[in-house]
Amino acid sequence: MSRSIDLMVAKLTGVAKDGALRAGRGLSGLMGQEITIHVPSVRLGTRADACDAVGGPEELVLGAYLTITGDVTGHVMLLFPEKRAFQCVDIMCGSPAGTTTEIDEMATSAVGELGNIVGSAFVNALADDVNLVLHPSTPTVVYDMAIALVQTVYAAVLSQGGEVVMIDTIFEDSIGRSAGLLIVAPDPISFGKLQELAA
């Protein structure tokens, strides 16, 4: 690993903390309970246990994927274990707990909104901290095995050549159950810009 990548990772770790805090605050409000944010880990490449936070590689997850354009480009993905996503939807829609049991139009729309709120909170924190213009895209709602989604984002970044830097933030509820996983991955083409800021 080069020193400039090291510096960038260190800088991103600091910025990611602020982003995670803001994203977690948004999530706490939506879930109607206190959400604990694990200090985001900024790492190179994929880790075999990347999906443990949402229940394991084959765990069915529901979430939102968005891309970032602007001064820096990249990927943002927010994933929840299926049951947890349904709980969120119930809270967001003001329905009694247990109302949502499948991915209907309401669930899709609510999860897209979650992606908007949490993803944008993170992206905005990043933009403020580093003084960049960043635009999150409209979220695409994703529903699949966790590893299939994580791997596909990893492949999209790796296919552009160079290092893959992934920022993972794990959200937990008050009794330590996983409440979600947020993955942010800048495109390698943006490393130069991020490294300038870190220098």
Partner: protein, 167 residues
């Protein structure tokens, strides 16, 4: 249908990995293939089975060859080599492939087309060895888990929230 017997040893074939075995008590499994492609190969005569889990189409897209089997071209070559070493020559191989989906939605897949390109690259490389998939479950928008049973050569594919079906 029970594709998975509890007493079978499940050998997970992770991204960029190759596994080859003749152990009838094992199952080769590539979990959650998104844009990745899983290639399974089986020699009915020696009952030797192999699988590779590729991530990207071409090895020349970047210099990194730490895990050569991450790339379709090198991955297919290495799988065939290893199978031959363990008594399964390529002329006897029954190939099946799964994966190459656009799990982030068709609009997002459009940008990189990794799933589609992975499938193409795998087929092209197989063709250069005189091989062609006997069965495939590719494309679409859903992730898949691919498994191969060395005991009988049966291959199963399971999409998210769906039962396994034989390929």
């Amino acid at each position: 249908m029970t594709a998975i017997a509890a007493d079978l040893k499940r050998l997970s074939v992770g991204i960029g990995q190759i596994a080859v075995t003749g152990d009838p008590a094992s199952v080769l499994v590539a979990y959650g293939l998104g844009s990745c492609v899983g290639v399974s190969a089986y020699d009915p005569s020696s009952k030797v089975a192999g699988m590779v889990h590729v991530l990207l189409p071409q090895s020349d897209s970047k210099a990194n060859t730490k895990e050569p089997a991450r790339f379709a071209d090198l991955g297919v070559d290495l799988l065939i080599e290893e199978l031959a070493r363990q008594g399964a020559p390529k002329r006897r191989l029954l190939i099946k492939i799964a994966g190459g989906a656009a799990v982030l939605g068709p609009a997002n897949a459009e940008k990189f087309k990794i799933g589609e390109r992975n499938v193409e690259a795998v087929k092209e490389r197989l063709k250069s060895h005189g091989l062609w998939p006997a069965a495939e479950d590719i494309g679409g928008t859903r992730g898949r888990t691919l498994e191969l049973h060395p005991a009988n050569g049966k291959t199963f594919v399971r999409a998210a929230a769906s039962p396994a079906t034989e390929l």
